[in-house]
Structure formats: structure tokens, C-alpha cells
């Protein structure tokens, strides 16, 4: 988090982490598609010739609070290929929360574990305390054959404290739910540390509803969680 009282600006950093080809960039592309252009920047991606992320993807989303504080949410992805570990470490610097994108296929279990360990190591290298920087897990690719059953995923969830969200990112399913969950975790952790509600008057409710106010949440679980948008708001 970067909080600049002089410029009345708050920047929140979310990093999408996980093995190569688990769908990190796809998540960002879907968020980008569903967000109205006035409140987001362009999606910055740098790919290699075979469409693999080379450095990172970056999607900024911004809004102003009722108190006139400018809030920027920066969504980053890391490159998944093993050789880019230094880049992963750099992108992770200063993260406020991490969305770990796991491939739900059984065959991917080992890779998921390896990148989980890599995440923990790189957080340590960056002085990020897992007690203060929440991680949430997205089980992506729920539609593919050989995927873990809901019961198996429930088992995995019970093994740790991280919230778990299922997704088929390529079809936009679970993407905004993941974003919601990771932003909520980020807010709660920042609130505990920096008391955002008291210092800048930003409540969890305002934070989340402002971020999603200009996103098309039709057909997602968020319709139940967020207040109905005012008439005339674009979808």
C-alpha cells in the first residue's frame, strides 16, 4: 500500500501469482473486458512470441472516494515460467494481497505446490509477512477433464486459512469473484494495519462497491453481494 496524504492518494497492489499457463493473464484480460474504460488504464502486457508473459501484466483501476481521496488498485501478474524468478520477486514487491491462480487438474498438483513454495520464498525475500499480506486461491480451469472434484477442493481449503474460489477464467466465470475476495482480504488487512476507515474515511463497503461500480457484474455472484447500482450506471 502506498498512502500519500499530501496528494490524497491511496495505491493498493494486488499480484496474481501461480504456475505458468494457469490463467493469470486471462484473469486480468477478463477484468479488463468487464471494466468501463473511464475507470481503468489500458492493459499492459509484454508477451514472448508464444504468448507467454515475459515481464508482467498490469491493469490499473481507479476511483475517488466520497471524501475526495483518489484510490488506485493496481493488478499485476507475474511471469509463470521457472526462469523468470527474479522478475516474479520484483513484481511481488510491496504487494497488499496475492491471488494464487492454481490449475485444478490433478496432474497440476505438483506444479501448484512448487509455485506455492516459490511464492512463500519470494514473499520472505521481499519482507512480506504472510500474516499481513493475505493470499487467496483461485482453482481455475474447473471445466477441464481430470479436474479435482468440489469435495477434493474443499479438502484443500480446509488445509489452510486462505479463501478458495473456483473459476473458469477463459469464460469469465469466477474472475470477478476472485477479484472481490482478494480485494476484500487486502482491505481488511490494510484496515487492521492502517485504519483506512478512520484515517481517510474509506470503509470496506465503499472500497468494494466503488471498484465494482464500473464493472459489469451481471451473472456473477457479486450481484448478491453488492448494492444494486444506481439507474443509468453503465454496464
Amino acid at each position: 500500500m502506498q498512502l500519500n496524504h499530501a496528494q490524497r492518494e491511496l495505491t493498493v497492489k494486488i499480484v496474481y501469482y501461480g504456475p505458468g499457463l494457469s490463467g493469470k493473464t486471462t484473469n486480468l484480460q477478463m477484468v479488463h473486458q468487464r471494466t468501463s474504460p473511464e475507470v481503468r488504464g489500458r492493459l499492459l502486457t509484454v508477451e514472448t512470441h508464444d504468448d507467454r508473459t515475459l515481464f508482467f501484466d498490469l491493469l490499473p483501476v481507479f476511483f475517488s472516494t466520497a471524501n475526495g481521496f483518489k484510490v488506485k488498485v493496481k493488478l499485476f501478474t507475474v511471469p509463470g515460467q521457472v526462469i523468470h524468478n527474479a522478475t516474479r520477486r520484483i513484481v511481488l514487491q510491496g504487494a497488499d494481497a496475492v491471488a494464487f491462480i492454481a490449475d485444478s487438474r490433478r496432474a497440476a498438483g505438483q506444479e501448484n505446490n512448487a509455485y506455492w513454495k516459490n511464492l512463500v520464498e519470494n514473499m520472505k525475500e521481499n519482507n512480506l509477512d504472510p500474516a499481513q499480506v493475505p493470499i487467496i486461491i483461485q482453482y481455475n480451469k474447473r471445466d477441464l477433464p481430470d479436474t479435482k472434484t468440489d469435495a477434493e477442493i474443499e479438502e484443500t481449503r480446509k488445509k489452510g486459512k486462505e479463501p478458495v474460489v473456483g473459476a473458469i477464467a477463459i469464460r469469465g466465470i469466477g474472475v470477478l469473484e476472485t477479484l472481490y475476495t482478494v480485494l476484500q482480504s487486502a482491505y481488511r488487512s490494510l484496515e487492521a494495519r492502517a485504519h483506512l476507515a478512520k484515517t481517510i474515511g474509506l470503509t470496506e463497503k465503499e472500497f468494494l462497491s466503488q471498484v465494482f461500480a464500473n464493472m459489469d457484474i451481471t451473472g456473477t455472484e457479486l450481484e448478491k453481494l453488492l448494492p444494486p447500482r444506481p439507474a443509468g450506471a453503465r454496464t
Binding site: R42, V46, L58, F62
Partner: protein, 491 residues
């Protein structure tokens, strides 16, 4: 632990996102096409581009009057540093309705001369990064030129002089200039996006490379520490071996000595069986003593405690002496022992005892690995130029018709404790130290030792020794460890 803040953690400025030269080219092209000047400032007021067109002569004329200069400076200050808000003389531009959403934040700032400026903020991810100033242009809705605000600057202001000058300024409807400006804004956004991408990725590339380097250095340091630790352990091992060997040898000498006295009947006569037993104790004791001696040798070599004593010596005598000490074993084993030597040879320089140990070790091995009925030969060559040493020298060849050594083991056999067959049920005894000692002593003389072999057909060890070691002083020899170190610094 990685250090330093990444470029991703800070706000980047307009200047970092735009390549100044190519941006200036684009602005210039725009200015020439639309004939309106463009200035671009970042959020701190620093100028990124400033291309003027048409207004120079007119503005210069106005500027020549003190009051004109004052008012001009105020107007330029307003467009450059004034608030991006509808205040301080700024008003909303006159726009065609379709342009309204795209011209968000655009301001019209009139000049006291009747000319006009348009100012638009550069928005990037919700931040104002700077501003673009268009103008001045001559609005087509200006009814009376010159306005009083211009003529009043001086009684000397001459309208007939000013008219042709102001005609060089672009005349256009405000809405048209606004449309050009929107177009420029879109182009600028594209350039910023490309520039941001380029800037971030190149910076990140540098950061990632530096960080990988840092990681490698940390790893190297750990490896070096581990290596030093291992070296220390190795030194301790050698010291331990030296102590233990010495402590073993002392009582063993007594065992052999007392057995010998018993066998000689010094303590009274023994019967035949008793003599046999005592002689067996003596023989086994001596085998054990040899083994302990070679362990002591290698441990002293490894501890760097062995010094060679160079003196003139006769190589023929060296070979003959070695052969005679091998004779009993050769007869017992039943192999033929041949020697080829020149009839006469000048004295050479070396450590006689150590070289003798080398040849005895090689011959002992040859006899050990050659079956009954086989052949062992030793050859001494004349003194001649040795390409291996780039010096005068001689060779000693020890050949056998024994079991041979696999080619992939040629390097390893010179390592301490290495044996080609290291299984517990192996046929040939020994501690695997003989060749390690050979290599150390030969290299201590500045010589080389080589092996050639064919499985089942025998082996040939070749020693190439210089006539005189390059250092005629005593040399301290080092362990026969093949170390791969970096080459010495050249500069």
C-alpha cells in the same frame, strides 16, 4: 533479501514515458499540418515540447511595448502554470456536441490581443500528468480586431503595422482547433502507452538481471563457505591419519621385532611349527607396516608436510635397486621380470628415496595385477629433449601383461584411496594409495606420469622426469588433487 525499490512501485513521469526526440518530431508534424503551435508541459511545469508557428512576428511586436510584455507574460503564465479549472480567465470551449465527451477538461484561455489558447490536461490512469497548450490561434468569431485590451497597451501601437502580422496566425473556429486537439490527445495517449511499456519493461529487465546476479553471488558465497568447510575437514582428516598411523606404527615395530627375535631363537629354541607361526606373524606384520607407511605418506602429502631432497643420483642404480627389492615377490608370483636400460648414463638430479618408492610402487602394482606366467618390464630411456616437459629428461616405463585398467578410470586411479574394483570381495588387496603417492612425488620433481592400458592385455605407466627439477631447492609437494581453479588475472 532483495533491496531497492522497483520502478513498478513508483509513479513515472511524462518525460520518462516519452522519447523526447521522436515526440518532438510528432509535435512538429502536427504543428505544420494544422498551423497551430503546441506546447507540452509535465505536471511540474517542465517543457517537453514547444513548437511555434505563425504568431512570432505579431507577438514580437506586442512584446516590444512594456505593457504588452507584462500582459503577454501573464497570459503565458496562465496557460502554462494556471489551474486546470474554469477560473483565472479560463472558460469552457465552444464545441460541437459530438466532441463534448472527448474534450473532457479542455479550457479556453483568451489572450488580451484577441487571439486564443486551448489548454487540455494530460490524463493518465486517472492522474493529471501535465498539459497540452494549443495556440495562439485567431478565432473566426472575433468581430473587432484589435480589441481595446490590445490598443490600450500603448499610444504607439500601430494597427496598420499589426494587421499584416496577425494575418500570419491561423484563423479557425474554436471547435475546429478543439477537434485537432482531441485528435492530438488520442495520439498522445497511444504514445504514452507505448512509452510506458517500453520504459517499464526495460527498467524491469535491468532490475531482474541485477537481482539474478545478486542471487548468484549469494549462492556463490554459500558454496565458497561450504568449500572452505570441506577443505578444513579434509585437513583434519589428514592430520588424524598422520597421528593414527604414527601411533599404529610404534607398537607394530615392536611386534615385528619381538617376532623376529622369537624366530631367531633368541628366547630359546622353537619347534618347526612354532617357527612357521612366528614367521607368519612377522610377514603379516610387515604387510601391515607397509600399508600404514603409505597411509602416513599420503596423509603427510595431503597435509603439505613432505619435502623432496634433491641430489645427484644414478638412474641405473635406482632401477637396479628397485628391481632387486622386488625380486622375492616376482619369484613367488611366477612372472617374468625384464629390464631394458642404456649401458651408461650421466647422473641426474632427484630425490633418490622417493623415486625408488615410486618405481617400487609401480612394479609392485604390475606384479600384483599380472597373473602367473605373465611378464613385467621396466625400461629406462636415454636422456633427450622431452616435449612433455619442454626440457631435457628421461623416461621410465613400467609395463605388464596383466588385467588392465578401463579407459574411463585413468584419471581416478591417481586419487587417494581409489581402486578400480572397490567391492568388498575384490581380488587384489591394498589401500589404493600407491598411485596417489607416485603422482605426488613425480609431479614434485616437475615430471609427469601417464597411463595407457587395454583391458586383458596389460598396462603401461610412463614417467617423464627432467634431468634436474627446475627448482633445485627442496620442494614442498602438494596433494595430488586435480583442482579446477580460475586462471590468474591477466591484468
Amino acid at each position: 533479501m532483495r533491496q531497492g525499490e522497483s520502478v513498478l512501485q513508483r509513479r513515472i513521469s511524462l518525460g520518462e514515458m516519452l522519447d523526447t526526440d521522436s515526440f518532438t518530431e510528432v509535435v512538429k508534424g502536427f504543428v505544420e499540418l494544422y498551423r497551430v503551435g503546441i506546447k507540452v508541459f509535465d505536471e511540474k511545469g517542465a517543457k517537453l515540447a514547444d513548437i511555434k508557428i505563425g504568431n512570432g512576428d505579431f507577438c514580437g511586436y506586442v512584446f516590444s511595448f512594456p505593457e504588452g510584455r507584462r500582459r503577454c507574460t501573464a497570459t503565458v503564465g496562465r496557460v502554462k502554470d494556471g489551474p486546470l479549472a474554469l477560473s483565472h480567465g479560463a472558460r469552457l470551449p465552444v464545441l460541437e456536441p459530438d466532441l463534448v465527451p472527448q474534450a473532457k477538461g479542455m479550457l479556453t484561455v483568451p489572450c488580451f490581443t484577441g487571439l486564443r489558447y486551448l489548454v487540455v490536461p494530460i490524463l493518465w490512469e486517472g492522474d493529471t500528468m501535465g498539459r497540452v497548450v494549443f495556440g495562439p490561434f485567431m478565432p473566426d468569431d472575433l468581430k473587432d480586431f484589435p480589441p481595446r485590451t490590445l490598443t490600450e497597451i500603448s499610444e504607439g501601437f500601430d494597427v496598420t503595422n499589426a494587421r499584416p502580422l496577425v494575418d500570419k496566425v491561423r484563423l479557425a473556429p474554436e471547435g475546429t482547433i478543439a477537434r485537432v486537439m482531441v485528435h492530438f490527445g488520442q495520439l498522445l495517449q497511444t504514445m504514452l502507452f507505448g512509452g510506458q511499456k517500453m520504459f517499464l519493461t526495460s527498467q524491469l529487465h535491468i532490475e531482474a538481471t541485477l537481482d539474478s546476479n545478486r542471487e548468484l553471488e549469494e549462492r556463490n558465497k554459500k558454496l565458497e563457505e561450504a568449500n572452505n568447510h570441506l577443505k578444513e575437514l579434509d585437513r583434519l582428516k589428514s592430520a588424524f591419519l598422520a597421528t593414527v598411523s604414527h601411533e599404529l606404527r610404534t607398537p607394530l615395530t615392536s611386534i615385528i621385532g619381538y617376532s623376529e627375535m622369537l624366530a631367531e631363537g633368541l628366547a630359546g629354541p622353537l619347534n618347526g611349527e612354532q617357527v612357521d607361526y612366528v614367521r607368519t606373524i612377522m610377514e603379516k606384520g610387515e604387510t601391515l607396516l607397509k600399508l600404514i607407511s603409505s597411509i602416513l605418506d599420503i596423509s603427510q602429502i595431503e597435509a603439505g608436510k613432505v619435502r623432496l631432497n634433491f641430489e645427484p643420483m644414478d638412474a641405473l642404480e635406482l632401477i637396479n635397486g628397485s628391481l632387486s627389492s622386488l625380486r622375492p615377490q616376482v619369484q613367488k608370483k611366477g612372472v617374468a621380470l625384464e629390464a631394458k636400460m642404456p649401458a651408461k648414463m650421466p647422473l641426474v638430479t632427484g630425490d633418490r628415496d622417493r623415486l625408488r618408492q615410486v618405481i617400487v610402487n609401480l612394479l609392485t602394482n604390475a606384479v600384483k595385477f599380472t597373473p602367473r606366467g605373465g611378464r613385467v618390464a621396466v625400461t629406462l630411456t636415454e636422456i633427450q629433449q622431452q616435449p612433455d616437459l619442454n626440457a631435457l629428461g628421461y623416461r621410465i616405463l613400467v609395463e605388464d601383461s596383466g588385467v588392465g585398467i578401463p579407459a574411463d578410470q585413468f584419471d581416478k586411479i591417481f586419487n587417494s584411496f581409489y581402486q578400480v574394483d572397490s567391492s568388498s570381495t575384490r581380488e587384489y588387496g591394498g589401500a589404493g594409495l600407491g598411485l596417489a603417492i607416485v603422482k605426488s612425488f613425480v609431479e614434485g620433481h616437475g615430471g609427469v606420469v601417464r597411463v595407457a592400458s587395454e583391458i586383458g592385455h596389460g598396462s603401461r605407466f610412463t614417467l617423464v622426469l627432467p634431468v634436474a627439477p627446475s627448482s633445485l631447492q627442496q620442494v614442498l609437494i602438494t596433494p595430488p588433487v586435480t583442482s579446477v581453479g580460475p586462471a590468474d588475472d591477466r591484468f
